[in-house]
C-alpha cells in the first residue's frame, strides 16, 4: 500500500517535471519570437537619442510618434505601399488560381505525361532560388523589363509549391465522393467548384496566407529589378530609410517595419478561421 502511494507520488513528480520542461521550451520559443518584435516596436516609438544609449533601454521614458512621421515624409511611403499591394495581390491570385488548376489536373484528369509533369514540378522545387537569379536577371534585362512590374512579377509567379501542396491535399480527399460526382455526371469545372474546392478551403486558405506573406516579404528579386518608387515594394523602400542621413536611422526603419507588418497581420486574422475549420466532416461515415 505504502509502496503504491510512493510510486504514485513519484509518477506525479515526474509528470510535473516534464510539464515544467515543456513550459520552459515554450517560453524559449515565445521569447525568441516576441523579444525582437517588442524591440522593433519600442525602438520605433523612442525619441532618437534613446535609441543609441548604452545600456539598451527596455522601457523608454517617453513615447513619441516622430519616427512614423519620418516614414511618411522622408520617403515615398505610399508609393511603396501601393507597389507592394499590387505585386502581392497579382502574385497571390496567379499562384492560387494556377496552383489549384494544375493540382486539379494532376490528380483528377487522365492525360499522357501526367507523372512526368508532376516529377518536373517536384524537381523545380529542389532548385534554390539563388541559382536562378542570375539567368532570370539576364533574361529580364534582355526583355527590357528592368524597373517594371512585369520584371518583378513574372519570374516570381512560379506555382510549383502550390501545385505540390494542393495536389497532396486533393489526393487525400475521400475518393468515393469524387466517384459519386463522376457517377452524377459532373463536368470537370463544376467538379472543381462544387465538389473539390468546398472540401479544400482550409488548405487553399493556408496556401493563400503563405503566398501573401512570402510575396509581401520578397526582397532580393525586387531589389535587383526595381530602381525607384515607380515599382519598388515596401521592403526595398525601407532600405532607403536606413541611409537617409548618412548614419543608420533605426527609428524610422523600425517604424517602417511595423507599418509593413500590419497588413499581413490583418490577412492572418481574416483567414485563420478558414484554415482551422474542417470541411470534410459528414462526407463519409463518422
Amino acid at each position: 500500500m505504502n509502496n503504491d502511494a510512493g510510486t504514485h507520488r513519484h509518477g506525479g513528480d515526474r509528470r510535473r517535471l516534464r510539464g515544467a520542461i515543456a513550459y520552459l521550451a515554450m517560453l524559449v520559443v515565445v521569447a525568441t519570437v516576441v523579444i525582437p518584435l517588442y524591440f522593433v516596436l519600442i525602438t520605433s516609438l523612442k525619441p532618437r537619442p534613446d535609441i543609441y544609449t548604452q545600456p539598451v533601454m527596455w522601457f523608454p521614458d517617453e513615447i513619441i510618434p516622430d519616427s512614423y512621421t519620418t516614414v511618411f515624409t522622408a520617403v515615398p511611403f505610399w508609393e511603396y505601399l501601393r507597389n507592394s499591394v499590387f505585386i502581392t495581390a497579382v502574385l497571390t491570385v496567379v499562384q492560387v488560381v494556377l496552383g489549384v488548376l494544375s493540382a486539379y489536373a494532376l490528380v483528377f484528369l487522365r492525360f499522357p505525361g501526367r507523372h512526368a509533369a508532376f516529377l518536373f514540378i517536384l524537381a523545380s522545387l529542389m532548385v534554390p532560388k539563388e541559382i536562378t537569379v542570375i539567368s532570370n536577371f539576364a533574361l529580364v534585362a534582355q526583355l527590357g523589363w528592368t524597373n517594371s512590374f512585369a520584371g518583378i512579377i513574372v519570374p516570381l509567379a512560379g506555382v510549383a509549391f502550390g501545385a505540390y501542396l494542393l495536389r497532396n491535399h486533393f489526393m487525400s480527399l475521400p475518393g468515393e465522393v469524387i466517384e459519386a460526382a463522376r457517377m452524377d455526371g459532373t463536368p470537370p469545372m463544376k467538379m472543381l467548384w462544387r465538389v473539390v474546392l468546398p472540401m479544400s478551403w482550409p488548405t487553399v486558405a493556408a496556401f493563400t496566407i503563405i503566398t501573401i506573406v512570402t510575396e509581401w516579404n520578397q526582397y532580393l528579386w525586387p531589389f535587383l529589378i526595381a530602381s525607384n518608387e515607380k515599382v519598388a515594394p515596401l521592403p526595398v523602400g525601407l532600405t532607403l530609410l536606413q541611409q537617409a542621413e548618412g548614419l543608420t536611422n533605426w527609428g524610422p526603419v523600425m517604424a517602417g517595419t511595423v507599418v509593413t507588418m500590419l497588413p499581413i497581420l490583418v490577412a492572418f486574422l481574416l483567414l485563420q478561421k478558414q484554415m482551422i475549420k474542417g470541411l470534410t466532416a459528414g462526407a463519409v461515415k463518422g
Partner: protein, 364 residues
C-alpha cells in the same frame, strides 16, 4: 430498365498476379435484384465498379441493355451507385445532394423539384431536406444516399455494401426497406455484400464469388440446399456447415463412424467429403450404436434457436472433421454445459456429398 451482362469480363490490377475478376460470365435480368457475395478480396466490389464505369474492363465485355459499355464514362451508362461510405457532398444539403445529378443532366427545374419531392416522400426524408450530412445520423445519411440514386431514375442501381456502416438493428430494418423499394421501383439492381444473411434475405438470385471467379449463381434456397462446392456450402448459412473429410465409401454408402449413409449416386472414389448443416443432425443417446460421440465446447442460445459447438471424441474410421468442430442444432430447452457428452447422428436426406479432390457437389 435494363439487363446487365458480364461476358468474360476480366480485371487485372497487376499483370503478374491473378486477376481480381477472372473472366466473369453473368446475366442479370431486367428488374432483378442480384446480390454479389463473397469474402474480402473476392472481387465483388471490383465487378460492381466495372458496371458503374469506375473500374476499367481489361478483357471481355460488359453490356447494359444489350449495348457494350466498355470504355464508356460513368455518366454515359445510366447507372446510379450507392457507396459504402455514402459519399454525400458535405457542403450540400440533402436536397442539393439529390438534385445535383439532375442539374448536371440539365433536367428542367420543375422536374427536379418534383423528383426530389417524390424520392423524399418514399424515403421519408422531408425533415432532412435542408440539413447537411454533418448534421445527420448514419441511417439518415444512408437514406439520402439512396435518394440520390433514386431521383436519377437510372436503368441500373449499383450498391456497394450500403448497410455495413449501420448498427445491427437498423441494418435489419433497412435491409427489408431496400428490398421492398427495389421491388416497387423495378430497377435492375446489383448489390454487393460480404454478409451472407443480407445475401439470403435480399436477393432474387445470389452470385457467390471467390478469388475473382463465379462459384454459383442461384436462388438463396438453392444455394443453401444444393451448393455446387464446399466453398459455397461453407460460406452460405449461419452457423456454418460442418465438413467431414476422408469419409470412407463402402458399397454405395458413406461411413460416418458406425453409421452408414446411402450415397445419392454411384461413387468410384474411396472417400468423399460430407457436409452437414446444424439442422442435419439428429440428437441421439449413448445406447444408439450408430451415433457419434461429441464433447460440448460451448452452446449458443439465440432465443428461437439453440446450437451446440462440440468436438468429436469417438472413432471416425479415418475421417476427420474440418476445424475439429461440429455445430449441431439442439432443442431450445436442452441444457448442455461445456464438457458434457453429446450424441448425434446424420439425418440421411440432409447430408451433402462432395468429391474428395475437386470438392464439387456429387449431385451438381
Amino acid at each position: 430498365m435494363a439487363t446487365v451482362e458480364y461476358l468474360g469480363a476480366t480485371r487485372r490490377f497487376d499483370p503478374e498476379a491473378a486477376p481480381a475478376v477472372d473472366s466473369m460470365d453473368l446475366r442479370i435480368d431486367d428488374g432483378e435484384f442480384l446480390v454479389l457475395v463473397g469474402p474480402s478480396g473476392c472481387g465483388k466490389s471490383t465487378s460492381l465498379r466495372m458496371v458503374a464505369g469506375l473500374e476499367p474492363v481489361d478483357e471481355g465485355e460488359i453490356r447494359i441493355a444489350g449495348a457494350d459499355v466498355v470504355g464508356k464514362r460513368p455518366r454515359e451508362r445510366d447507372v446510379a451507385m450507392v457507396f459504402q461510405s455514402y459519399a454525400l457532398y458535405p457542403n450540400m444539403t440533402a436536397r442539393q445532394n439529390m438534385a445535383f445529378a439532375l442539374e448536371n443532366a440539365r433536367v428542367p427545374k420543375a422536374d427536379i423539384t418534383r423528383r426530389v419531392a417524390e424520392a423524399s416522400r418514399i424515403l421519408q426524408l422531408d425533415d432532412l431536406l435542408d440539413r447537411r450530412p454533418a448534421n445527420m445520423s448514419g441511417g439518415q445519411r444512408q437514406r439520402v444516399a439512396m435518394g440520390r440514386a433514386i431521383v436519377r431514375e437510372p436503368s441500373v442501381f449499383c450498391m456497394d455494401e450500403p448497410l455495413s456502416n449501420l448498427d445491427a438493428k437498423l441494418r435489419v430494418s433497412t435491409r427489408t426497406e431496400i428490398a421492398a423499394l427495389q421491388r416497387r421501383l423495378g430497377v435492375t439492381t446489383i448489390y454487393v455484400t460480404h454478409d451472407q444473411t443480407e445475401a439470403m434475405t435480399m436477393g432474387d438470385r445470389v452470385c457467390v464469388l471467390d478469388k475473382g471467379r463465379v462459384q454459383q449463381v442461384a436462388s438463396p434456397q438453392e444455394l443453401y440446399e444444393r451448393p455446387v462446392n464446399t466453398f459455397v456450402a461453407a460460406f452460405m448459412g449461419s452457423p456454418p456447415v460442418t465438413l467431414i473429410d476422408d469419409v470412407p465409401v463402402e458399397s454405395g454408402h458413406a461411413v460416418i463412424g458406425e453409421d452408414r449413409v446411402p450415397l445419392p449416386i454411384k461413387v468410384e472414389a474411396p472417400t468423399v467429403i460430407a457436409g452437414l448443416r446444424p439442422d442435419g443432425w439428429e440428437l441421439s443417446s449413448p445406447e444408439d450404436p450408430r451415433a457419434l460421440e461429441f464433447e460440448v465446447l460451448l452452446t449458443e442460445w439465440l432465443g428461437s434457436e439453440h446450437f451446440a459447438y462440440a468436438k468429436p471424441c469417438g472413432d471416425l474410421r479415418g475421417a476427420s472433421i474440418r476445424g475439429e468442430r461440429v455445430i449441431v442444432r439442439i432443442g431450445k430447452k436442452e441444457t448442455l454445459s461445456p464438457g458434457a457428452k453429446l450424441y448425434a447422428r446424420a439425418i440421411s436426406g440432409e447430408v451433402q456429398f462432395f468429391d474428395a479432390v475437386t470438392e464439387r457437389n456429387l449431385c451438381a
